[in-house]
């Protein structure tokens, strides 16, 4: 049954997902080309110096990519469910409601893990062409909060779409916006190294928010 839910979710998401992947590959490729150009037009040592001591992020174009992918995957997956209250069909499937809802989130999460890993591998390869592993490590440390933000936006999209009341949607939206904005607070690379475990735990706990929205959908849909 889970495989079948996976099939349905995939049918909903696939084009958006592949679109996100294409965009991601494009952005990683663009970072690669930019880097090549910067190194071509400046001396490599001054580029290193600029990156290490001026804290220039050559990968800053990547910043909003995970969030954007999380958002569009969330929309693609949950918007069709609330059109015509179609979620009723899903909840009517012969499984426990909470399991049905969490299955959806789990599938989206796994797909995001795959696409983010894939893009990070790409970004890592690009980095290692030009720089030693120290710079890659700091890149990963710095990109991680953006990735976590992608999951947050995805989980919030799930809770937001499934929610039936606008007042609650606005509440979740505003709080989540404030929360996500923290992930883009930038004080130089590695500045999230201490906070990221807690941020990650908070982000993961948000995956359960869909259950409250789902409960409210079930209890009060008209």
């Amino acid at each position: 049954m889970f495989a079948s839910i996976m099939y349905k979710e995939w049918l909903k998401i696939r084009w958006t997902y592949l679109g996100g992947a294409v965009l991601g590959v494009f952005i990683v490729f663009e970072i690669f080309l930019n880097l090549g150009q910067i190194i071509e037009f400046n001396k490599a040592n001054s580029v290193w110096n600029y990156i290490i001591f001026q804290k220039y992020l050559f990968y800053s174009d990547f910043q909003f990519l995970p969030a954007f992918i999380g958002l569009i995957v969330g929309i693609a997956q949950y918007f069709p469910e609330i059109q015509d209250k179609r979620l009723k069909l899903h909840l009517h499937l012969p499984m426990r409601e909470n399991n049905l809802l969490l299955s959806m989130v789990a599938i989206g999460t796994v797909l995001l893990i795959i696409i983010y890993s894939f893009l990070l591998i790409g970004l890592s390869l690009v980095t290692l062409i030009y720089f030693p592993y120290e710079i890659l490590v700091s890149l990963l440390n710095t990109v991680l909060p953006w990735i976590v933000a992608g999951f947050v936006i995805y989980f919030i999209a799930a809770a937001l779409f499934i929610e039936i009341r606008w007042a609650r949607r606005i509440l979740i939206g505003v709080i989540a916006f404030a929360f996500v904005s923290m992930f883009y607070y930038y004080m130089g690379y590695d500045s999230f190294n201490k906070a990221i475990p807690v941020f990650t735990i908070i982000a993961l706990s948000l995956s359960l928010l869909i259950l409250l929205s789902g409960y409210r959908f079930k209890r009060g849909t008209k």
Binding site: K43, A44, N45, S46, V47, W48, N49, I51, I52, F53, N98, I129, Y130, F131, P132, E134, I135, V137, S138, L171, I172, I175, A178, F179, M182, Y185, M187, G188, Y189, D190, S191, F192, N193, K194, A195, V198, I202, S205, L206, L208, L209, I210, L211, L212, Y215, R216, R219
Partner: protein, 410 residues
């Protein structure tokens, strides 16, 4: 059960965000600008002169509190305001019996600042080792960066590959002198915009301090003998043309030393009560004196010494910190705690809690009463909402707002 968990997560999430943003908004509205006074030591009257903001206007005064005009004020510190004083032609011929030569005066003025957030600031551990005797007038960025992990590795920036011969020569020097890899901390100024290069001061994994330079592509590596009990916390390499001291060193115990050009001798400074975790330190020097100023958000201290670092005088001032203004006291009642992800004294984003004290009970009590009244009016059974009361008990107004926004579900 899971649905309840889901609601509790949402409540905690709302509280988390409120505890960050509500106090932030509160202070955006009520915060008064409190700026530390600016203190100088006048070589004319041998006393401190102060300028500070009284609301929005700059007030200048001497240490007795007599107001000074701007001209009077600047004329009392001709070494600091020498450009202005030279322009108005008021520069005295001599001060403290020393003849004033503008060139000398300018050459002897210096200042260094150590901010608490700079001390732990993360850097990628790759450093350009400049050639300090290139024979060129200007410094140049080297083609390699060094890595001090298992050995001293030179990595060519262009090829991103290790340069073996250089790495071997330098690594050998490191092992010969007893350096324990990997390096713990590396201090220096990786820039070409300085008059000359003194390389890096490096602590090894055993805590010992070394001085590394690249001289004609060969290692210059000296072990710096530390006085007993002085462990390095932070070093500012000065690279000042007077070549009096290589560096300012802050020890783990928050003592300030200068590493002299005279065989790396540690010069003690008479600075007490400085704490690198909270204070911003400013060291100034001129042709006559040295001064060390450190300040936090409610105090400033300035210690003036002669050029041999013997204490001459000390200035202390305290003022009401933000926390102790009326808005601050009120906030202690309203917010049982506040949370910020940034702290001016820290280089990392983290969760900086600031807890209130017993005053918080007032706000918690009022929040609880409001919740009880609202819940009683709606005739909601305690078994649905006992957890709400606990949340309010622990988080006060944040909890109240959160449980009202995220209503209980039957």
């Amino acid at each position: 059960m899971l649905v309840k968990t889901s609601r509790n997560i949402l409540i905690l999430f709302v509280i988390f965000v409120l505890a960050i943003f509500v106090p932030d908004f509160y202070w955006k509205i009520f915060e008064k600008n409190i700026r530390a006074p600016f203190v100088l030591y006048s070589p004319v009257i041998h006393d401190f002169i102060i300028s500070k903001f009284d609301d929005k206007t700059m007030v200048r005064m001497d240490n007795e509190g007599n107001l000074l005009t701007r001209d009077e004020y600047e004329e009392l510190e001709p070494l600091f305001f020498y450009r202005q004083i030279v322009m108005t032609g008021k520069m005295p011929d001599s001060l403290d019996g020393m003849e004033i030569d503008i060139q000398e005066l300018r050459r002897n003025n210096f200042s260094y600042r150590i901010k608490p957030d700079a001390i732990e600031e993360p850097f990628i551990q790759l450093y350009p080792l400049l050639e300090s005797k290139s024979g060129r007038a200007k410094l140049e960025m080297p083609d390699e960066f060094i890595r001090l992990q298992n050995r001293c590795e030179f990595i060519n920036c262009e090829s991103n590959e290790v340069v073996e011969d250089l790495s071997e020569t330098f690594s050998k020097a490191f092992t010969d002198i007893g350096f324990k890899f990997p390096a713990a901390k590396i201090f220096g100024n990786p820039t070409t915009r300085k008059p000359f290069d003194e390389g890096y001061f490096i602590t090894d994994s055993a805590g010992d301090l070394f001085h590394l330079k690249r001289v004609k592509n060969k290692p210059y590596l000296k072990k710096v003998n530390r006085p007993n009990g002085v462990n390095v916390k932070y070093i500012v390499v000065t690279e000042n043309e007077r070549r009096e001291f290589y560096a300012i060193l802050v020890s783990e115990a928050s003592k300030i030393y200068l590493i002299s050009y005279n065989d790396y001798e540690f010069i003690n400074t008479p600075i007490e009560d400085y704490d690198y975790r909270v204070h911003e330190l400013m060291m100034r020097g001129n042709i006559l004196y040295r001064s060390f100023t450190f300040s936090s958000d409610d105090m400033i201290r300035m210690v003036v010494t002669d050029r041999e670092y013997n204490k001459i005088d000390q200035y202390d001032e305290e003022w009401i910190s933000r926390e102790n203004t009326s808005a601050g006291k009120f906030s202690k009642m309203v917010f049982p705690f506040t949370l910020s992800i940034i702290d001016a004294k820290e280089p990392f984003i983290n969760f900086y809690f600031l807890f209130s004290d017993t005053r918080a009970l007032i706000g918690i009590f009022i929040s609880l009463i409001i919740a009880v009244i609202l819940y009683l009016r709606k005739k909601i059974k305690l078994k649905f909402i006992w957890i709400d009361y606990i949340v309010i008990l622990l988080t006060g107004i944040f909890g109240l707002i959160a449980v009202l926004l995220v209503r209980y579900e039957e």
